[in-house]
């Protein structure tokens, strides 16, 4: 059902056509009407891939936490992102109909993804390698927000009707915990944390992720170190 646009050849003696002054010979292939069957199959494929990616994540969690296998940290990322990419290609190709569309629209979209890739990779290269490039400046640099010495409104007012502002010294997370410890006692917090991590184990093996920071690590300069080991299980 290709629908061809007739090109204009009704110019004057010099070949000049006022309806088509630039002499375009662009042939449009009409606008494709997607078959209902294709759309439905694409939807079913997308739902199946959603089930697959959820299932893969659950299987992986099970293998790590119950069977104690060590699965490389990146395997999870690669599997989930590959499935997401396949789903995205299905949506763009069929639902957004780029397959049947003017190729210029596809070029616009791909160029945008290219810009995204540059954005992401150069930022990662920068932050991931500062310590290599300028190691000698490490002690002087405190890049990024430090997250310390904040103020915030408590929501209460003093006798003059002005909002009470509290000063937060140190990172917000440590401050919040200290306030709770002051109010309810250290044992309460310890008990609650133990309930939250019933099978707490120290992370072991090369599969566990570990913090990597360059010179922008100022965010956790003043973080309480003792409880950090609870993370990421």
């Amino acid at each position: 059902m290709s629908h061809t646009k007739p090109t204009h050849h009704n110019g004057d003696a010099n070949g000049y056509d006022p309806d088509n002054p630039h002499g375009f010979t662009y042939v449009d292939h009409g606008h494709h009407i997607m078959s209902g069957r294709t759309l439905l199959l694409v939807l079913l494929a997308l739902l199946a891939f959603t089930g697959l990616t959820v299932g893969a994540a659950q299987v992986e969690t099970y293998m790590i936490e119950v069977m104690g296998w060590s699965i490389p940290h990146w395997a999870n990322v690669i599997i989930a992102m590959s499935i997401a990419t396949v789903k995205a290609i299905l949506v763009v190709t069929f639902f957004m109909a780029l397959k049947y569309d003017n190729p210029l629209n596809t070029i616009v979209f791909l160029f945008c993804l290219f810009a995204f890739a540059i954005f992401l990779s150069f930022t990662a290269l920068d932050l991931g390698n500062r310590h290599r490039v300028e190691a000698y400046r490490a002690p002087q640099i405190s890049a990024g927000g430090t997250g310390v010495n904040l103020t915030r409104k408590t929501g209460e007012v003093n006798e003059k009707g002005e909002p009470i502002v509290e000063n937060i010294v140190g990172p917000i997370a440590g401050y919040v915990r200290n306030v709770t410890i002051e109010e309810k006692g250290a044992d309460y917090v310890k008990k609650k944390l133990a309930e939250k991590h019933p099978h707490h184990e120290e992370p072991v093996g090369p599969s566990r992720s570990r913090p990597q920071r360059g010179l922008s690590g100022a965010l956790d300069e003043h973080a309480p170190a003792s409880d950090a080991a609870h993370g990421g299980h």
């Binding site: 994540a57 954005f119 932050l127 709770t180 609870h230 993370g231």
Partner: protein, 233 residues
């Protein structure tokens, strides 16, 4: 092969009040044809979608960088999200993407009743997405104190950088939810115009097509946000 008209066959009858809106539509005078106008509008919309992708690129970049710096905090934060609600919202958005693609197909085939049915299902899905998001995710999390940045008030954190995770989570899903609401408004406007003016049919459906593209982009962003936030620990 088929007698279904496209934009190339568009012969407007603006003076005929009994004709449906899509037959009365007259392309702007600076375009050679309705088909050229359609292509130009669509190219313009794809350029806009490229800027939308770059808007979300900033959020994805923030996710990537902070995850690179504090993988344990991101693992801990990701664990406190419920895959059940994220997965349900994925299914809801995929179904709505399918119904939008179907509604455009129905416009091209001049099936107005099914065009309306598909758009109504899409709007129901959009409402379901937002309700699930606020009732079962934002609401309880916010009440527990799992909030972004300086608003963070959850003493039982597992990693001192969890406020950063919550900042990324609320920014990414919040801006996405805003897009869901905007997309639903566009599609509701399309539905109104179709019901009231019979605005969309085989030879003119530009507004519906572009609103549909916007909706698919919202779906596309969620396809990546879902595994990044809910599945990758």
């Amino acid at each position: 092969m088929t007698s279904i008209p496209t934009q190339h066959d568009h012969q407007p009858s603006p003076g005929d009040p009994s004709a449906p809106g899509w037959k009365r539509y007259v392309a702007a005078s600076h375009f050679r044809s309705a088909a050229d106008e359609f292509d130009a509008c669509k190219l313009g919309f794809w350029l806009f979608l490229a800027t939308e992708v770059l808007l979300f690129a900033g959020l994805f970049c923030a996710y990537a960088i902070f995850r690179m710096m504090y993988p344990e905090a991101f693992a801990a934060g990701s664990h406190s999200l419920d895959v059940k609600w994220g997965g349900l919202n994925t299914v809801v958005l995929l179904i709505s993407s399918y119904t939008v693609a179907s509604s455009i197909r129905c416009a091209m085939l001049d099936k107005r009743f099914w065009l309306h049915v598909n758009l109504i299902i899409t709007l129901v899905c959009a409402a379901a997405f937002v309700v699930i998001k606020f009732t079962f995710e934002y609401g309880p999390k916010w009440a527990e104190g799992k909030r972004p940045g300086v608003l963070f008030d959850y003493p039982l954190w597992s990693h001192p950088q969890e406020p950063i995770w919550w900042s990324v989570y609320y920014c990414a899903t919040g801006i996405h939810a805003l897009h869901v609401i905007i997309g639903a408004c566009l599609l509701a406007w399309c539905l109104y115009r179709s019901v009231r003016h019979k605005a969309y049919g085989p030879t003119h459906y530009t507004m519906l097509e572009n609103s549909g593209l916007y909706w698919h982009l919202v779906d596309l962003i969620w396809i990546f946000l879902f595994p990044l936030l809910y599945l990758i620990h």
